[in-house]
Each structure stands twice: as structure tokens, then as C-alpha cells.
């Protein structure tokens, strides 16, 4: 009597969860007996309720099942699960599988039966699945490798075009019947999840308290009836694939029951074993079977057919997150994008800092006028351009500058950091840059005084000082950490060697263009100059870092006195091969003699921000003059033609204009203004303390002295 109840419980357990994988294999939902199996399921469900009434504790029964299954050997387990699914075609499976142990020939015959007609007839599909399973089983049971290879070969033939990789699939460890039962899968999932929770704190639980989403009423009633187990297993095996076994199962079983494709978006019915493509395939199933809940497998979202909508449920989400973490761990990949749910700590932080700003179109945050402190418009316009450099504002707004220096009031980078805070504080009153000016005066003596200065010179000087201070802060930080480690360290030898190497690094990073500070990351490009010897055609190449590209506007001396009209003209002239002439012979390393040669510039690497300096101020022996000719410049600009390696497959050298500095006046006296892009397609004109809206046409029709372009697509390093 005791034994009998145990057996019935076992059967009920399979049907209760109804995600018996042996069922998936024989695809019984397609065969004619499907309705029968559903009926059986219904009856079993009734039995289950009766069992519940008899107050048999659920977990205990599950446990007993587990131990029972583990003790059963694989062949009998196939038999039992096969009969449990109660379908006609499952008998094929059992027959094939049980025969494999001693009859390889039959198995191979079954494998030969695989042919491509799989898609056409549901029954052949079932047979094919059974055959492949049988082949896999035979691979395990046969001791000689040759026999296994033969089986694989025959399956490969059956697949046809698929060829090699089709064979590869069946070579994988066989689908052990022991793994096919849902309770075992559930056990695996539970175990893996438990392992995960040991080394990663249960973030999911605290998330759950914050959110309160409970799906729809259909899902709630579904969960009440079936618990979360089915969802957990389907999600862990077919949506997230927590381990190798799961991936294997997904690869073999998880295709649309309607069209057989492994489609991009498959749905799995959570009521029975059914996979279907998004759209008609799954909905027709859900409609005809009156099933409500399905799981979208590529993202793991729940879909309710009754609501015709995706639904969100907290507990399911927690389980899904665990599965995603397991998957990420198993494949050593990232967790991927997760919606941000503030942790309690973050919530408190947000509550403590209640002052927040919403950036909408037509919001002026980030715009501030700058007072003219007496001919300091050259500084104001450069500051406006720098503050509106996206990468620079990202850097400073995320507070990335960690100043090692204790005298932060002397550090220009700290001052710029403060400046960004001022610009984005929301205040609209004009700002005075006296501290910045003072710092620049201290560090770049040639700019000191109340005279009018060149904006370009100021720009380069500022970058230089910023760069030096970044390096200084970095070395001081290193120095500090080094002294800390030296004082705390016990072994003398190790610290000694590390300190010498880091000081060597610091020395190296002092070199221009060698360091990794934010200024170099954004503004430094590499110029290539090729000197070609006219005698032997030998090329000597040198590389030079640059912060900006200075372009001549005057008449060309060689090519018939053409004056450039556009930025492209200027750049073409800049990168054109230039004959150095007989007066400037260069010693060729191959000829070992002085020869005439040509020199050509090209751009080896481009910085994220390219700034062009149009040389409008001409200083010659005869006359100093300003060239006010109109130079047309584009908004979007592809720099590919000017690169050293034009056929770089990965490179994308498209740039967008984001700031233009203009000079009005003569060479001796004048005024600087700047156009900056405030938001996408929104331009403003900054004239010291006055900020006005500007149209793109106004920007493009302006004269242009310094042009700032920002790279559209940033590459990875």
C-alpha cells in the first residue's frame, strides 16, 4: 500500500509541472494524442487536489521523487517518463532508446530516417527528434568510438547541407534521461541559485521590497495553480541557459512547433510544452488551447494572452535575475543591461539631495555668460567652447578629477572642475573668471597682462597647463600611494622595485602625447609626415602628436596661386605632397647623400575633438594683416580622405561641428565671440555676458577662426 501511494505521487509530480523534457523530445503536443495528454493532465490535477486534501506536505513528496529518480538507471527512467507523457509517438522514443543498449543497427536505421522532410510532417519531426535522441543515447552506450562516429555520420548525412556542425551537435554528451525530468532540472536550478547566493548577496530581495509589481490577475491565478517552478525551469533552461546542459537542450528542442525555425523571438507556453514564433504561431496555440501565460524566450518577459500584453511580476523577475546571473557566470559574460532600481542607499541619497534638475529642450542649464574682465574675450570664448565639449563635460560632471595636490587652489584642473559646477548650477547670472585668469597668468607667463591676446594661443596654453596639472595630480597620487604602501609594507625588496618602475612611468608620462590624461585622451591626435627621397623613392616616416590643425588661407605659391574656399580645400592643401626644392635638401638614409625630396602630411590617428585653426592673422616681413575671406565649413564632416590608412576597416572618422570661435575687427584690435551647440540642433551665441539663441545658418555664415569638431562615434581602446 505504502509503495503504491509513492508511485502515484511520482506520476502526479511529472504531470503537475508538465514540463517533462522527454515530452518535448517526442513533441507530443503535435501528435494526435495531444488532447488526450491534456485530459490526463487534468485528471492528474484533480488527483493532486485530492492529495493536497490528504495533507501530504508538498516539499517532502518532491524530495522523495528526487531520490527515487536518482536511483533509477537511465534506461528505465526514459521508459517511465515516456509512459508518463502518455503519447503515441513517445513509444517510438522508448522503443528506439531501449533498443540502443544492444542494437546499434536499429538505432542507425532510425537515424537515417531523419531526412529533411522534418518541417513538413509533424509526425516525422517527432520521429526525427526521437531518432536524434536515440543516436545520442547510442553514442553513450556504445563503448567503441568507431560505432559512435558512424552514427554521427549518418545523422550528418540526414541533415544534408548542415553537414559538419550538424554532426557536431550529436557528438555532444548524450541527453541523459536522468536530466530530463523537471524536478531534476528544478533541483539544478535551486542548487545553482543557492551557490550564487553564497557568493553574491541577495540583492534581488531588497529590490523586491522597493517594487511592487504582481503581474496581472491571470498570471496570479496561474501561479496559484502551478507555482513558480515551471517558470523557473523554463526560464533557466530556455531563456537564460544557466549551464551547458541547458544550452544543449535549448539547441535541440527549442524551435517553433509550427514552422521549425529557431526564430529570433520564440515564446514558450507555460501551461504545456509548446514553442512558437512571435505572432500567429504562439497566439493561435494560446487561443485554441485557452492557455494564458507564455514566456518570451529572448528576453525572458512574461506575456499574458488574456491581457494581450507583457506582464511584470516581482518574484518572477527575481528568479529571472538569478538565472541571468548564473548565465553570465557560466559564460563569463556581462550581466547585460538591467533596469536601474535604486538600492535603499541610493534612495536615501536621492532623498537627502532633493534639488534636482530636469533637462528638457529649451532649458538653459549649462549656459552662462562670462564677464569681460578687460579684454578677456579671448578667454571667454575658449572657455565656452571647452565647457560645451561633450567628453570634457562628461569627465568633469562625473567628478573624475582626483587632485593629489593639497593646494587645490593652484590646480587649473580643479578650477575647471569648479567652473563646470558653476555652469550647471542653474544660475543665470554672468560668471567672473578671475581665478581662472589668475591661474593661467601664473602658469603661462606670456599671456599675463591686460593686453588683447590670441584665442588660439590661449587655447593651446590652456590645454598645456591642464595637461601638466593632470600629470602632476596623477604622479602625486602615485607618490602618496607609494609612500603609504612603503610605510605599511613589510618586505623591502618588493616595494623598491615597484617604486622605481612607477617613477619611470611618471617620467615617461611627462613626455608630450605619451600620457593618458583626459586632455590627451580627448585632444591629442597623431600626424604622420612622409619624406620621400626623389632619387631612390625611399620613405622616411615620422609621427608627431598634435592638439590642433593650423590651416593656411593665403594664396598657394606653387599651384598657380589658388586661394582655398572651403575647409576641405584647406585640408587638401595641408595634406598635399610638397616639393621641398633644391634649397632644402635632406639627407636620405638609404642613399646616404643629400637629395631633393617631397614631404607629405597625413593624419595617423584623430583625436575625439579636432580643432581647426584658420590662420587669419598673417605675419610676414612685409605686412601684418588679417585675412577675412569666407571659408565654408560643414556641420558634418568625414575625415577619412585625410587619414594615413584610408582602408582601415574599423575606422569611422565622421565629425560634427560643436563650437566656432569668431574674431571681429582688425589684426591689432578686435573682439572674440563664440557659437556653441547647446543641445542637439540648438545653437547659441556667446558674446561675453550676453547669450543669445542662434540659428545654424548664422553659425555657418560666420567667418570662423577656430572650429571645433567632435567625433560622432567613439571607438574602443
Amino acid at each position: 500500500m505504502q509503495k503504491k501511494t509513492g508511485a502515484s505521487k511520482y506520476r502526479y509530480n511529472i504531470n503537475n509541472s508538465r514540463v517533462d523534457f522527454s515530452c518535448v523530445r517526442c513533441l507530443c503536443s503535435l501528435c494526435s494524442s495531444y488532447s488526450y495528454s491534456v485530459k490526463v493532465a487534468k485528471i492528474r490535477r484533480k488527483q493532486q487536489r485530492k492529495c493536497d486534501k490528504n495533507s501530504v506536505p508538498q516539499p517532502q513528496s518532491a524530495k522523495r521523487t528526487k531520490t527515487k529518480e536518482n536511483s533509477v538507471d537511465s534506461t528505465t527512467s526514459i521508459l517511465s517518463t515516456g509512459s508518463g507523457s502518455a503519447s503515441s509517438s513517445s513509444s517510438t522514443t522508448t522503443a528506439a532508446a531501449s533498443s540502443t543498449a544492444n542494437n546499434n543497427k536499429r538505432c542507425r536505421a532510425a537515424a537515417d530516417f531523419v531526412p529533411g522532410s522534418r518541417i513538413l510532417l509533424p509526425t516525422t519531426r517527432a520521429a526525427a527528434a526521437a531518432a536524434s535522441a536515440a543516436a545520442a543515447a547510442s553514442a553513450a552506450t556504445t563503448t567503441t568510438k568507431a560505432a559512435a562516429g558512424e552514427t554521427v555520420g549518418s545523422v550528418g548525412l540526414g541533415v544534408g547541407g548542415g553537414g559538419g556542425s550538424g554532426g557536431q551537435l550529436t557528438k555532444e554528451p548524450p541527453l541523459n534521461a536522468k536530466h530530463l525530468s523537471v524536478s531534476v532540472c528544478l533541483h539544478t536550478v535551486h542548487k545553482l541559485a543557492a551557490d550564487l547566493h553564497v557568493d553574491a548577496n541577495a540583492d534581488a530581495n531588497c529590490d523586491a521590497e522597493v517594487m511592487s509589481e504582481t503581474g496581472c490577475r491571470h498570471y496570479q491565478s496561474y501561479v496559484k495553480e502551478h507555482s513558480y517552478d515551471t517558470f523557473r525551469v523554463i526560464d533557466a533552461y530556455f531563456a537564460a541557459c544557466v549551464n551547458r546542459d541547458a544550452r544543449e537542450k535549448k539547441a535541440i528542442h527549442c524551435n517553433c512547433f509550427e514552422c521549425g525555425s529557431y526564430g529570433i523571438q520564440l515564446y514558450a507556453c507555460l501551461h504545456c510544452i509548446y514553442f512558437g514564433c512571435r505572432g500567429a504561431h504562439i497566439t493561435s496555440h494560446l487561443r485554441s488551447k485557452k492557455h494564458n501565460v507564455a514566456l518570451e524566450l529572448s528576453h525572458g518577459t512574461l506575456y499574458c494572452y488574456a491581457c494581450r500584453d507583457f506582464i511584470y511580476d516581482n518574484r518572477s523577475r527575481d528568479y529571472a535575475l538569478i538565472n541571468r546571473k548564473l548565465e553570465a557566470k557560466d559564460l563569463q559574460k556581462s550581466l547585460g543591461w538591467q533596469p536601474w532600481i535604486p538600492t535603499p542607499k541610493e534612495t536615501n541619497l536621492l532623498l537627502a539631495n532633493a534639488r534636482r534638475r530636469l533637462v528638457r529642450p529649451n532649458v538653459t542649464i549649462g549656459l552662462r555668460g562670462l564677464l569681460n574682465l578687460g579684454a578677456t574675450c579671448f578667454m571667454n570664448c575658449i572657455v565656452q567652447a571647452l565647457v560645451h565639449t561633450p567628453l570634457l563635460s562628461d569627465y568633469f560632471m562625473s567628478d573624475r578629477h582626483d587632485c593629489g595636490s593639497k593646494l587645490t587652489h593652484k590646480c587649473l584642473v580643479c578650477e575647471v572642475s569648479r567652473l563646470f559646477q558653476e555652469f550647471y548650477s542653474g544660475s543665470r547670472s554672468p560668471l567672473s573668471l578671475h581665478r581662472l585668469l589668475h591661474l593661467i597668468w601664473n602658469h603661462a607667463k606670456h599671456l599675463a597682462g591686460y593686453e588683447q591676446q590670441d584665442a588660439h594661443e590661449f587655447f593651446i596654453a590652456t590645454l598645456d597647463v591642464l595637461h601638466r596639472h593632470c600629470v602632476k595630480a596623477k604622479t602625486e597620487r602615485e607618490h602618496e600611494s607609494k609612500s603609504n604602501s612603503a610605510s605599511s609594507g613589510t618586505g623591502g625588496g618588493g616595494t623598491n622595485s615597484s617604486s622605481s618602475s612607477s617613477s619611470a612611468n611618471a617620467n615617461a608620462s611627462h613626455c608630450y602625447g605619451q600620457c593618458n590624461c583626459i586632455i590627451d585622451q580627448i585632444f591629442t591626435g597623431m600626424l604622420q609626415s612622409d619624406v620621400v627621397c626623389q632619387a631612390c623613392n625611399g620613405v622616411s616616416t615620422t609621427f608627431d602628436p598634435f592638439w590642433d590643425i593650423s590651416l593656411d588661407l593665403g594664396e598657394t605659391t606653387t599651384h598657380g596661386g589658388v586661394t582655398p574656399k572651403t575647409l576641405i580645400d584647406c585640408l587638401e592643401r595641408y595634406t598635399r605632397a610638397e616639393h621641398l626644392g633644391s634649397a632644402a635638401k635632406i639627407k636620405c638614409s638609404t642613399c646616404k647623400s643629400y637629395q631633393e625630396s617631397t614631404k607629405q602630411f597625413s593624419l595617423r590617428t584623430l583625436p575625439s575633438v579636432v580643432s581647426f585653426h584658420l590662420k587669419r592673422f598673417e605675419h610676414s616681413a612685409l605686412i601684418d594683416r588679417k585675412i577675412s575671406s569666407f571659408i565654408q565649413f560643414p556641420v558634418e564632416f568625414d575625415m577619412t580622405p585625410f587619414m594615413s590608412e584610408k582602408k582601415n576597416a574599423y575606422g569611422d572618422f565622421r565629425f560634427s561641428l560643436y563650437a566656432v570661435v569668431n574674431h571681429v575687427g582688425t589684426i591689432d584690435t578686435g573682439h572674440y565671440t563664440a557659437f556653441v551647440r547647446h543641445q542637439k540642433d540648438t545653437w547659441v551665441k556667446c558674446d561675453d555676458h550676453v547669450i543669445t539663441m542662434a540659428s545654424l545658418n548664422q553659425v555657418l555664415e560666420s567667418e570662423g577662426y577656430l572650429l571645433f569638431y567632435h567625433k560622432n562615434i567613439l571607438e574602443y581602446e
Partner: protein
Amino acid sequence: MTICDTVDQYTIMSGDRLKIKDLLCNRLTECGWRNEVRLLCRNILLEKSANNSVSVDQLISEVTPKARTLVPDAVKKELLMKIRTILAETDEDN
């Protein structure tokens, strides 16, 4: 079974499919595509929800063509290279 299905099956089995998917998701987030599509959806909802609600399917059918064109070429190129190397590797293995 077509070649397509075989490739599908193989990449799912080896886990490459998931890795590629992961890479793609990261790239799309990094290049701002996700935000753009989000904005697109938001705008459609704001436009249409005035008179009646928009269903998920409606939204998908409207957003998908636009979203596809928004995927940067660099991302496509990188993905193509990745897939090519993966398939070349498995070809060598066999």
C-alpha cells in the same frame, strides 16, 4: 534542416549566440541607441495615447523600422566581424 537552422543550433549550443547577443546589447546601450529608441517609443506614446491606448504590437510595428535604421554601421560591422570569426573558428575545428 537548413544551414541557417544548423548555425542557429550550433551557436546556441556553444554559447556563442548568447555572447554575441550580450555584445550587441552592450554596444547598443553604449552608443545611445537604446536611449534613442526609448525616446522614439515615448514620443509615439505621447502622440497616440491622447485618444486611445497603444498596444505593444502596434508600438513594435511602428518603432521597428525606424529603430533598425538607427543602428550605427560601426556596430553592424563589428558584429559581422565577430560572427565571421566565430564561424571560421568552428569551421576549423571540424
